[in-house]
């Protein structure tokens, strides 16, 4: 009976044991390099980003405009039907104010990041991106935002062709 088990196996190590070598270890670094194909839909998506435009695909089955675009609708499970441009404005669906960078190091100035749903696409459909020209106290779910594009000569066909999304101003969109 477990209530009577006295010895639970496992030999604990401290960080100095593992990294300092008080127990025998082997170190290794894999060298795995990749070239991920963007595929049919995303190649067009990236090309349009380079042109300063956002594009989606429409499924005539469920009548949704899927963004980012995909060649098949995962709900209807059929190929999608047409390319449709969408707007570069939208709303903040959710966000985080991050004091961690990608390597889990602390940063002093937080990164504002979240999901923005895009006007012209099916409701709630969006992408993750940075938010800018607002403070961590300004940012809120539901805020209307607009993409800030890099100048054409700096665009490479990447989601980073958009610098960030900023608050929509009076009279815009």
């Amino acid at each position: 009976m477990t209530a009577r088990i006295e010895k639970w196996p496992g030999v604990e190590l401290g960080p100095k044991d593992l990294e300092g070598g008080t127990v025998t270890t082997v170190r290794s670094r894999p060298d795995a390099r990749f070239a991920w194909s963007a595929g049919e839909a995303m190649s067009r998506f990236l090309a349009e980003l380079q042109r300063g435009r956002l594009i989606g695909r429409r499924c005539d089955g469920c009548k949704r405009v899927l963004f980012p675009p995909r060649m098949f609708c995962e709900e209807c499970f059929r190929p999608t039907d047409a390319w449709v441009y969408v707007r570069d404005t939208g709303a903040i669906e959710t966000f985080s104010v991050s004091y961690l960078d990608t390597d889990a190091r602390r940063i002093a100035e937080p990164i504002l990041v979240g999901v923005v749903s895009i006007d012209g696409a099916a409701p709630k459909m969006g992408i993750m991106h940075y938010f800018g020209e607002m403070t961590k106290d300004d940012i809120r779910i539901g805020m209307r935002v607009k993409a800030v594009w890099r100048p054409p000569e700096e665009r490479t066909g990447s989601v980073l062709d958009i610098r960030h999304f900023r608050p929509l101003r009076e009279g815009e969109g």
């Binding site: 209530a3 088990i5 496992g10 985080s96 004091y99 999901v115 709630k124 459909m125 989601v159």
Partner: protein, 388 residues
């Protein structure tokens, strides 16, 4: 389909770093489970191994690598992996083997050795992100939990205090667990709420730690339980369910875990449960973050949407409350060696239902419990209902 029981369980301690290799950890947990079930490896007809990304241990084809420590040599063996859902899903895969009649006795072994990954397992977690849409933004994994937590809190108007309270409850519960990595009898709400902000709204003490560990359970058919007179140490699997949602997480409203709800309905249907709030006596939902316990309780139909936080506030989910939740101490208190959390989900259900939970034993009688795990990019739910 045949009735299937868990007749023995075992686990190692959970710590940030353990010296044993993955094979040795698997062996330690398996041997303990077999000893508890009074069986030898020759009694076992099939072995199922659950372990999460190969990239944590840093061994390609990890399932094959760990099989000799899992008792799988020259047996029907499969490795299953559903991200964080593996902690409950591998038992479901084990259940398939016995319920179908293909095996009379199955050994389910789960292992994780995250300490191999330097400087932090977070470095390989980064590769779950889409290379085109997400990775160029250099995301940190905590962002995605922060975004889900924010959506959940904002849509329902849940104060952070109600979420932090879960971390306090679970870390205190973990004091009763012999394998616990972060038990804390004295932790307070202020400790959690004042801990440093990682990615708002997530604070440091809202997060479970990465861990090394292993766990194992022995599954047996009704015939085996009867012939070997194991009824007193058997807890029966009444229902299983699993479900996954799209990887396109930016398409979904993260406020409610639809995939957990569907998995739960599948399990409840099999277990003939139509009023879970009344018919489930205790629960072990997956709690890698404190808000997830609440999120999952709602997905499991044990709390109304947006209302799970009230239950913690009112003490309903304490070990001596009306619906004990995470009496083990959960991932927040015991540790998070991904797949090996089976020991505190399925394992805890087993030990509670058979009266073997020691200091953690729920003080009133419990007959039916539900364990749930969650994984991938906010996608996967696995649910098991067990009864005495």
């Amino acid at each position: 389909m045949r009735k299937v029981a868990v007749v023995g369980a075992g686990m190692t301690i959970f710590r940030r770093r353990l010296q044993e290799t993955g094979k040795e950890l698997s062996f330690e947990a398996s041997r303990m489970a077999l000893d508890q079930a009074k069986m030898e490896i020759s009694d076992v007809n099939a072995v199922i191994h659950g372990t999460a990304p190969d990239a944590f241990d840093g061994v390609h084809m990890k399932g094959e690598y760990l099989l000799d420590g899992s008792g799988g040599i020259r047996k029907p063996y499969m490795r299953v992996y559903t991200g964080g859902g593996t902690g409950v899903f591998s038992t479901i895969a084990g259940w398939w083997h016995v319920a179908s009649g293909l095996a009379d006795i199955a050994l389910v072994v789960n292992e994780e050795k995250m300490s191999s990954c330097q400087p932090h397992p977070q470095s390989v977690f980064a590769h779950i992100w889409d290379p085109i849409l997400d990775r160029p933004l250099k995301p940190n994994l905590v962002w995605i939990f922060a975004m889900e937590m924010n959506r959940y809190m904002t849509v329902h108007g849940i104060p952070y205090e109600d979420i932090a309270r879960v971390a306090v409850k679970n870390k205190r519960n973990a004091v009763g667990h012999p394998c616990a990595q972060l038990p804390d009898a004295n932790i307070t709400l202020e400790d959690v709420m004042n801990s440093e902000v990682m990615a708002w709204p997530v604070h440091r003490l809202d997060i479970s730690p990465p861990s090394d560990g292993a766990a194992a359970v022995v599954l047996a058919s009704e015939d085996v339980v009867r012939k070997r007179k194991l009824r007193d140490q058997a807890a029966w699997i009444k229902g299983v369910g699993w479900c996954i949602d799209s990887t396109m997480w930016t398409d979904r409203d993260l406020v409610f875990p639809e995939y957990v709800n569907r998995a739960a309905k599948m399990a409840y249907k099999q277990a003939k449960i139509d009023r879970p709030k009344r018919q489930i006596d205790f629960a072990e939902p997956y709690d890698p973050f404190d808000y997830k316990e609440l999120h999952h309780l709602e997905g499991l139909g044990l709390a109304d949407k947006g209302k799970a936080g009230l239950m913690t506030r009112e003490g309903i989910t304490e070990r001596d409350g009306k619906l004990p939740v995470c009496p083990s101490g959960g991932l927040l208190g015991v540790g998070n060696p991904i797949a090996a959390t089976m020991g505190i989900k399925i394992g805890e259900l087993y030990w509670q239902l058979t009266g073997q939970a020691g200091k953690r034993q729920i003080p009133h009688e419990v007959h039916t419990g539900v364990a749930q795990a969650w994984g991938d990019l906010m996608q996967y739910g696995s649910v098991v209902v067990m009864g005495a």
